[in-house]
């Protein structure tokens, strides 16, 4: 197991280098002169040259990349062009908010998805099954910003149960988590259903049924754990798409996370901030998936770490 973990961590090195290279390239993909774009064509030639030097863009490409990686590995993402403050400070302040929201959304997604998927599978090919699957399809079809606004309208403005914006208490987390988690819950529901149907066809389930185990107990005690194995793998993938979706949901709910930071940075063409957000999100994704793979083995002893 330990050897497997070490090997997986070593495998991450080229992946992380690749990710950092793509992120590094962003600034060079800006059409025209990135420095002029970032200064919105307003700077004097001296300012442009000074900024080019500050950003290191006057050095050879490979030198720039090496310095980018070395600094990023130490948590130094340079300074924001807009605020002049270190990007790492801003990210460090905001990332707990985004992670909190993404984790809460994941919990919502797993809870709703597994329950709905299990219900659909138990009542396979009944109206309840079809109904649940239509609801799930609706879940992936909902634009999350619109869902958020509708939830604010109902629960904040009309019923006055929950705050419409802000991040001061756990009450503020409820609506964003539901908004962000809904589409993932739909995907998890569909996967849980099909995985559950697969498991219910297996011999050991038939044996249990022959023994006289009731349908409810059959599902919750015998089938659910094995049906969850593929679901665990998709939760990792979903976590990544939640980081992307958080950009929109953070905007809807005035949530001070890194997604909102990225959007604001686009309007000011603050490329270092964008680079940092994208890099951090990708690194979180890579480590989440590693964690999921390791979890896999704990859930399913048939998987060997060879």
């Amino acid at each position: 197991m330990l050897r497997y973990v070490v090997r997986r961590l070593l495998h991450l090195v080229p992946v992380l280098l690749g990710i950092s290279f793509l992120v590094f390239l962003l600034v060079h993909l800006v059409p025209g002169d990135p420095v002029r774009v970032m200064l919105a064509d307003a700077g004097s030639p001296e300012q442009v040259e000074r900024m080019r030097h500050q950003l290191g863009l006057d050095r050879p490409l490979h030198v720039q990349y090496v310095s980018f990686v070395v600094r990023a590995a130490q948590g130094d993402f340079g300074r924001s062009i807009h605020t002049r403050r270190p990007v790492a400070h801003e990210i460090g302040f905001r990332i707990p908010y985004t992670v909190r929201m993404a984790v809460a959304a994941t919990l919502v997604a797993v809870a709703m998805g597994v329950v709905l998927g299990a219900i659909a599978a138990i009542h396979h090919q009944s109206p309840l099954d079809y109904g649940t699957m239509v609801v799930a399809l609706a879940g992936v079809s909902l634009p999350n910003f619109w869902l958020g606004l509708v939830l604010i309208l109902i629960f904040s403005l009309y019923l006055r149960w929950l705050p419409p914006a802000g991040a001061d208490s756990w009450l503020h987390l409820i609506l964003p988590a539901i908004t962000l988690g809904t589409s993932s819950s739909a995907i998890i529901a569909r996967l849980t259903r099909s995985s559950m149907l697969e498991v219910l066809r297996q011999d050991y389930v038939r044996t249990a049924r022959a023994k006289g185990v009731g349908p409810r107990r059959l599902v919750y005690r015998h089938a659910l754990k094995n049906a969850m194995i593929p679901v665990v793998s998709i939760v990792g993938m979903q976590f990544a798409s939640l980081l992307g979706g958080a950009v929109i949901v953070e905007t809807v709910f005035g949530w001070p996370g890194i997604g909102r930071l990225a959007v604001d940075a686009i309007f000011t063409r603050d490329i270092p901030v964008i680079q940092a957000v994208v890099l951090v999100a990708a690194v979180i994704f890579v480590f989440t998936n590693l964690l999921v793979d390791l979890l896999y083995g704990l859930l399913d002893p048939r998987i060997r770490y060879a």
Binding site: P31, V37, L142, I266
Partner: protein, 282 residues
């Protein structure tokens, strides 16, 4: 049981019997027709500002009400459909033009080329999709055209992987070997023998990707990165109404129904196509 009929004929007859797919077709055609026929369905100009008509609630005169500039929302939604649907279509077109040939070539050739391409694809997939689009918009600058490009580029790696996977399973079949044995060149074999056999999953995925691309497009416009005011793009309409949620709930919520229904239509259709053409994926 269905001997003597082609894969396509079987699939088509299955779609006709699939109620979800039928509903999807109806919904999708409804919204396409409504946006195409916008000038004949409404006399209101989607951009005409009428301050005396500000925040009129839904009524017979304005079925979806009016916004903060007194613009008729039905007209804005009808004309906006043209923009939001085109964003999806063009974005998918961009990823298809690059992704399908690349997937075909890398799957067919295999070897080192395939190794390199798939490494890049895996790397790319480590970035959350919407963030890739946002990064590309950050580089190119906001605007509807750049949003199409961003979503299109963002969709390439997933498509390459799907096409390649299907090519791998077709490549080893006897009819491909036979085609090669009688002297078919690589380009010929890929075009005539492999491509038609991977087309069904591509069509299924394209329908589902359209739903996703439309959602990403309206999402980016909602953030202000795509269509700019006074454009009636769907995401932009919802964003504009956001500030008036308390006074005029209809400005954001009713146009959002159009987004939801259209995306649901494509998803129903895509699901139906998948069931019809590839029951294994169910």
């Amino acid at each position: 049981m269905e001997a003597g009929r082609s894969h396509w004929a079987i699939g088509l007859s299955r779609i006709r019997r699939n109620r979800g797919a039928a509903a999807g077709v109806v919904i999708v055609l409804f919204f396409i027709a409504a946006s195409a026929l916008a000038p004949w369905l409404t006399d209101d100009d989607p951009l005409a500002v009428q301050f005396d008509q500000r925040f009129a609630p839904p009524s017979l005169r304005h079925p979806l009400g009016t916004d903060s500039f007194g613009r008729d929302l039905l007209s804005r939604v009808l004309y906006g459909g043209r923009l939001s649907l085109s964003v999806g279509l063009i974005a998918i077109g961009i990823s298809d033009v690059v992704g399908i040939p690349l997937g075909l070539i890398t799957g067919y050739r295999g070897g080192r080329f395939d190794d390199v391409v798939m490494r890049l694809v895996d790397l790319w997939l480590a970035f959350p999709g919407l963030l890739v689009a946002i990064a590309i918009v950050a580089v190119l600058g906001p605007g509807l055209q750049n949003v199409m490009i961003a979503i299109g580029i963002g969709g390439i790696p997933g498509l390459v992987r799907l096409v390649r996977g299907n090519v791998l399973s077709v490549r080893e079949q006897e009819f491909v070997e036979a085609a090669r044995a009688i002297g078919g060149g690589d380009a010929h074999v890929v075009r005539v023998h492999i491509f038609p056999n991977v087309l069904a999953p591509i069509i299924v995925l394209t329908t589902l990707r359209l739903a996703g691309a439309i959602l990403s497009g309206v999402g980016l416009s909602f953030l202000g990165l795509g269509a700019q005011p006074p454009s009636p793009e769907w995401g932009a309409i919802v964003a504009e109404g956001r500030a008036y949620l308390r006074e005029a709930w209809w400005v954001s919520t009713l146009p959002g129904v159009a987004i939801f229904a259209t995306v649901m239509g494509f998803n129903l259709l895509g699901d139906g196509l998948r069931d019809a053409f590839d029951p294994r994926l169910r």
